[in-house]
């Protein structure tokens, strides 16, 4: 388990400039979830409709440095299952050269 000093050296995957209310806990949670990734990994984040979604990706600005997708309120997992399936298929067909965490 890395300590805080080590974690502070990990790359920043979520930026300021989002419109969450001052002091909101959600952006902290996001920051800390994304710290689980190694620096050479790429993520796809599937976000359900809500405060976090509308405030962190308000056209033309996004706080997400990884790929991020929002489709609707009730289906973030279903959306992500499709992304994961596409990743597996493209990988299997040798049409994709990268690793990914979702």
């Amino acid at each position: 388990m890395p300590n805080l000093k080590e974690l502070s050296k990990k790359k920043v995957r979520f930026t300021g400039g989002h419109r969450m209310c001052a002091g909101c806990g959600a952006p902290m949670v996001v920051n800390w979830i994304l710290k689980a990734l190694d620096d050479d990994e790429r993520a796809v984040i599937s976000n359900a409709t809500g405060c976090l979604e509308v405030s962190t990706c308000l056209y033309p600005y996004t706080s997400w440095k990884d790929s991020w997708v929002h489709t609707a309120f009730e289906n973030a997992a279903a959306t992500c299952s499709g992304t994961e399936a596409a990743f597996k298929a493209l990988k299997k067909k040798d049409l994709l050269m990268e690793s990914i965490s979702s």
Binding site: S8, G16, A22, T56
Partner: protein, 100 residues
């Protein structure tokens, strides 16, 4: 301002906008300043700081700058002045004062 792939402004026409509202510049929210939301401002006293990083842990706006495991200062372009960092500081290294 960073180099960006798209340049969308309030005057961008439909022919110049991105299909489906895709955002091609991951992380470009950095360009949007939320510093003017502030009514109160955190003030850092380097001499009292133990560099425990707990303020950095709780900052919702990535506004506490850390290099090599040490606090370097504040990003007042994005800090919204929520004061969460000042509340958790046990060493009196962070004051919370009204914006002038």
């Amino acid at each position: 301002m960073n180099n960006r792939k798209m340049n969308i402004t309030p005057n961008t026409t439909w022919k110049e906008t991105t299909p489906g509202g895709v955002i091609l510049d991951a992380g470009n929210a950095e360009d949007f300043k939320t510093g003017d939301w502030r009514a109160m401002r955190p003030v850092w006293h380097e001499d009292k700081c133990k560099h425990c990083l707990l303020c950095w842990v709780v900052c919702p706006d990535n506004s506490i700058l850390v290099e090599d495991g040490k606090i370097k200062g504040f990003d007042y372009d994005h800090c919204k002045g929520c004061g969460v960092c000042t509340k958790q500081c046990k060493f009196g290294a962070l004051d919370f004062v009204p914006e002038e």
